[in-house]
Symmetry: none
Subunit: 204 residues, 2 copies
Amino acid sequence: MVVTIERTHKRQRQQQLSAVIDQNPFITDEELTQRFDVSIQTIRLDRMELGIPELRERMKLMAEQSYDQVKSLPLHEIIGDIIDLQLDRSGISLFEVKEEHVFSRTHIARGHHIFAQANSLAVAVINDEIALTAKADIRFIRSVKLNEKCIAKAYLRPANVEKSHAKVEVFTYVGDELVFQGNFMIYRSAKDSASGGIKIEDSY
Amino acid sequence: MVVTIERTHKRQRQQQLSAVIDQNPFITDEELTQRFDVSIQTIRLDRMELGIPELRERMKLMAEQSYDQVKSLPLHEIIGDIIDLQLDRSGISLFEVKEEHVFSRTHIARGHHIFAQANSLAVAVINDEIALTAKADIRFIRSVKLNEKCIAKAYLRPANVEKSHAKVEVFTYVGDELVFQGNFMIYRSAKDSASGGIKIEDSY
DNA sequence: TAGTTACTAGTACCAGGTAATAATCACGCT
DNA sequence: AGCGTGATTATTACCTGGTACTAGTAACTA
């Protein structure tokens, strides 16, 4: 078919857009244009295609939801802010350690938050409808403390792009110091065999 | 003094206004003019005097509030309910998979929640002031789905009780089916050598 | 070369306001 | 009756963050 390159560009951007808005629902189209370096019309077309309402509608929905209170909390799914994402290749996310993430006595971050950031990112990098963690081998290299900013970088091993199990390496830094390292084996659903298939949905 | 009647009129209206907005924060100034049969400017003056922000600000505040609530919820302290705990020996915890823990499309639990339960339990088992995860080797044996109850069982390898690094094995079951298995290396602070030390705090 | 897709650009319009300025009303007091 | 004062209304310019629509361009490709 036509313009496969644009299609992936577009798909990729839309996936990222979806993730960015999901993670920060208070962002305006204006701010998104800067983030993605495309015109505001493109952002708006993307939102329409993805069925994402405008900022005010999003806020209204959230406000109504909190007003109804009864509703269960739609936990946000990705831990950390995704800063950069190249599907099937790499990704970067930022996670800031707050009060609620640390042991109160030591102010050291609980391991599972650091893991969650890496795990979320590893799953996000996989360009597939379903991506699940199958195995992980992780190392907490030094403890992370309150208010530190963790930058996680994930790389997919290129050899595994087409297989049903992808290996993703994640390195998490505070500044230039490595604090965590993990090897993830991610199971992917149906890496649409030999391309061709047009996938409509995003992963989250 | 002058205009006592108007003043009470005004006071009364402002009281009512305050109550009405409180009761229905989604009302516009336009609708309020009809409700009170005064001009829109009067409504706005009233709002200013009362320090009530405009509709959009009100919605934004509510949205942010609910967002912060959601944000602080995900991975708090201990994940799962600890059912049984024998310090330096073993522990059992229960974690029920809810809407907020799963991928919305597949209803499969996100790996980091399953990890968090195991990690929390592994740390809890260690009878020490400071216990941090140093390494972990984990396997997601089968995917866990919405509403399933995960029973995690942790065992400390007895040989390691006195060392500064403890090895803890965690097995997580749904029913009698093993869904997750992990080997944790937990760093412990100062296994207060030869007892004697009085420990006051708990670990979290 | 024509056609498709992606993207950009620009205009008109909207809701729901803020801010500021001026005009008008109502009432009470002397 | 006339004046002052606070309450109210009217008017205008401007703002944000959009929607809706039309048109044009670039890139690729069949």
